[in-house]
C-alpha cells in the first residue's frame, strides 16, 4: 500500500474498488476451499493473466511473496513431518503453498492497481450504514494515518540504528527501543498538530 501503487488505465485499474474488494474476498474464500491441485494451478494461471491484463509484470508481486516464503519454509516441513512424508502430506503441503501464494499475489494485484484514496472511499461507503455509531470519515483517516506511519516509523528505526552504531551500542536493546518509542510519540504529536492545522481536528 505504501508506494506500491502503479498508475495505469487497464480494466483492472479502472474497476470499481468495491467490486475488486468483493471479488478479492470471494476468491480468497474459494482458494481456501480448493482441494484439487489442478484447480489451484488454474487459479494461479488466472492470477498471472490478471497481472498481464493490468500491464504489470507478475514479478512486481515479489516483495509481497518474499516474507511469505519464510513462513512456508517453516510450515511446509512441519506439514510433511505431521503427515509422515506420505504422498498425501506432499499434496497437502503443495496445496498450502499454492493457496498462500495465490492469495498473497492476488492481494498484491489489488494493492498495485488501487490508490489508498480509492480504498478509503470504499471503506467509507461500506461503513455508511453504520454512520450512526461510527464516523466513516474518521475511520478512513485512521487507516490513512496507519499506512502513512509505517515508512515514518521505519525511518525513525533506521536513524536510531545508525545512531546506536555510531555510539558503539549495537547490542543494546534499550538504546534502540527508548529513542524509537520517544521519537515515535513526538512524531505522533507533531502529526496530530499538523492535522489540526489542516482543519482535521474535529
Amino acid at each position: 500500500m505504501i508506494g506500491l501503487y502503479r498508475p495505469g488505465t487497464s480494466l483492472v485499474h479502472r474497476a470499481p474498488t468495491l467490486l475488486k474488494l468483493g471479488l478479492l474476498a470471494v476468491i480468497m474464500v474459494l482458494i481456501g476451499l480448493v482441494a484439487d491441485p489442478a484447480v489451484l494451478g488454474g487459479v494461479l494461471v488466472a492470477v498471472v493473466l490478471l497481472f498481464l491484463l493490468a500491464g504489470i509484470p507478475p514479478t512486481a508481486a515479489w516483495p509481497q511473496i518474499g516474507p511469505v516464503l519464510w513462513i512456508l519454509a517453516f510450515a511446509v516441513p512441519v506439514q510433511l513431518l505431521v503427515a509422515g512424508f506420505s504422498a498425501e502430506g506432499w499434496v497437502t503441503a503443495g496445496l498450502m503453498v499454492g493457496r498462500l501464494v495465490a492469495a498473497v499475489v492476488l492481494a498484491a494485484l489489488f494493492t498495485l492497481t488501487t490508490t489508498v484514496t480509492a480504498v478509503l472511499e470504499a471503506f467509507q461507503v461500506l461503513l455508511n450504514p453504520f454512520r450512526r455509531w461510527l464516523d466513516p470519515d474518521r475511520v478512513g483517516l485512521l487507516v490513512a494515518l496507519t499506512i502513512r506511519c509505517i515508512p515514518l516509523v521505519a525511518e525513525i528505526v533506521r536513524e536510531v540504528l545508525d545512531a546506536r552504531k555510531a555510539r558503539g551500542a549495537q547490542a543494546s536493546v534499550v538504546a534502540l527501543a527508548v529513542p524509537v518509542v520517544v521519537r515515535s510519540l513526538y512524531a505522533a504529536d507533531a502529526i496530530g498538530e499538523a492535522l489540526a492545522a489542516r482543519g482535521l481536528d474535529d
Binding site: 508506494g3 490513512a144 498538530e193 499538523a194 489540526a196 489542516r198 482543519g199 474535529d202
Partner: protein
Amino acid sequence: MTDRDAYPGDDGPVGIRFDRVSHGFDDQPVLTDVTLDLTERRIGIVGANGSGKSTLARMINGLVTPRDGTVTVNGLDVKRQAKLVRRQVGFIFTNPDNQIVMPTVQEDVAFTLRRRGLSADEIAERTSATLARFGLSELAERPAHRLSGGQKQLLALAAVLVAEPRIVVADEPTTLLDARNTRLITDLLVSLPQQVIVVTHDLDVLDDFDRVIVIDQGRVVADAVPALALASYRALLA
C-alpha cells in the same frame, strides 16, 4: 503595505491582532503581554531558540491558545472560533514529514480538500492545478515519503495552498533545507498573494519583507522594517 484586494476569499474584517497576550507552559512564561497588529503582506518573526516566536506563530492558527489576552484573525477569536480560523490560516511546519498524511503526492494535496463540500471532480481539478503551479505534476503518483527534502516542503506548501487560505504562516520552513531549496521555498512564499508570516533563523530571506518582529524571552523587543529590526536583533545576539 497591505494589498488586501489580492487576498483570496477576502470578504470580512482583516488583520491579525494580539491583545495583551501572555502564555506559558507549566510555570515557565513563553510570551508576556504581547500586543501586535499584523496587517502587512510580508512579516518576519525572528528570535533565539525558546524565545517564544513559534508559540506566537502557532497562536495565529489556533494551535496554541493564549492563557491571557486575545488573538483575533480577521475578526475571529482563535480560542472560540479555532475551526473557522484554520480555514483562513494555512500553516507550514519545519519538518514536512510530519505534515504529509497520504502515501502519494497527489493524494496528499487532495486530502486537504476533504470535508470541504467539494465534488470529486472539483477536488481533482483543484489538486491538478495546484500540482502544476508548484511543478509537482510529474511527481503526482510518486510516494510522498520518497521525495527529497525540498520536494517534501514544496508538497507541504502545495497541500496548504490548495485550500486557498487568506493567511500563510510558516514556522522555520527552510531549517531542514539546503541553500538552493531554501531559496526556492522562500521565493515561493514571497510570491504568494496571501499575507505571509515567516518564523525564521535565516535573516537573509527577510530583506524584501515589509516588517520584522524580534522576540526575546517572550517579549517583542524590536518591531520595524527589516534593516532596523535585524540590526537590533544582531546587536542582541552580539
